[in-house]
Symmetry: C2
DNA sequence: GTAAGTACTATACAAAAGGATAGTTAAATA
DNA sequence: TATTTAACTATCCTTTTGTATAGTACTTAC
């Protein structure tokens, strides 16, 4: 409503808009693909929180469960398997009595450090924003 | 199996691990929360791709649909509404004949630029990694 | 023997996300 | 009159994600 405007010069609407992306066909789409590759591995509610938890040090199953708020055993078990399959997390079994299973980040997992840092910064300002708005 | 180790010094297992996070209770959990705030707004397969598409310029509905590979009208419509609710995207209606609806990023939407840049970098190297592995 | 802890797995189910297809309104075009 | 385009909405369906609850194997503690 506020943005409704009577059209005086029709050809201007959305023109500068499309030009940037229509010039070379698919430039915009090409730029989306690597982000989708990243999202495929990281998407969902739990993967990044689990990775963050492991950035603080190697952990056992139940420790991660305690530190990632709200996660259930089933989800944690599933997500750890996914992360292991993508070589972001390593699972080490120690033949102790009783058996001890320790999870750690791989080097590759640590390569997500700046992704997480940037996301945390954005999340922090975003939280302030919504808090302030209410 | 490869990581199975006979336990000689039991107290070493997972010790340096937990210490970092158990020292001050919840330090690790606290670090997770802002990332969850960010994920709440950005999660899903489509939101970031749509935002990227709009970083290339203002667009109409069907243009975005063309540029974001695989998205359906229903998903695009829903995600645009979500993004608008979070003030990342602005919807402008022009009283043209026929009516023209244009979507653009808000300033706040543009604040995601470095999030996307970092994610794109990571995604690019990740893609190389999986391509090379196969 | 019973209970408790660790690291899970199994089952059943509910909710959310995503996909396929079709329909709507309204004007413009053939 | 029929078709096309734009910008959706509606319906139905499948998949994924998430929740709740229970169970298992093993060992130590009471």
């Amino acid at each position: 409503m506020e943005n409704t405007v009577t059209k005086e010069n029709p050809e201007e609407v959305g023109n500068h808009a499309s030009s940037a992306c229509t010039k070379s066909l698919g430039e915009c789409t090409k730029s989306i693909l690597p982000v989708r590759d990243a999202l495929e591995v990281l998407s969902g509610k739990w993967k990044l929180p689990i990775i963050i938890s492991l950035m603080f040090g190697n952990k056992r199953f139940s420790q991660i469960a305690k530190e990632v708020p709200g996660i259930t055993d089933k989800m944690l078990s599933k997500e750890l398997r996914d992360l292991e399959a993508n070589e972001l997390v390593k699972r080490s079994v120690y033949n102790a009595i009783p058996v001890v299973v320790e999870y750690s980040l791989t080097e590759y997992g640590f390569s997500l450090q700046n992704v997480i840092a940037v996301l945390r910064n954005w999340g922090t300002t975003h939280r302030k924003r919504i808090m302030g708005a209410e």
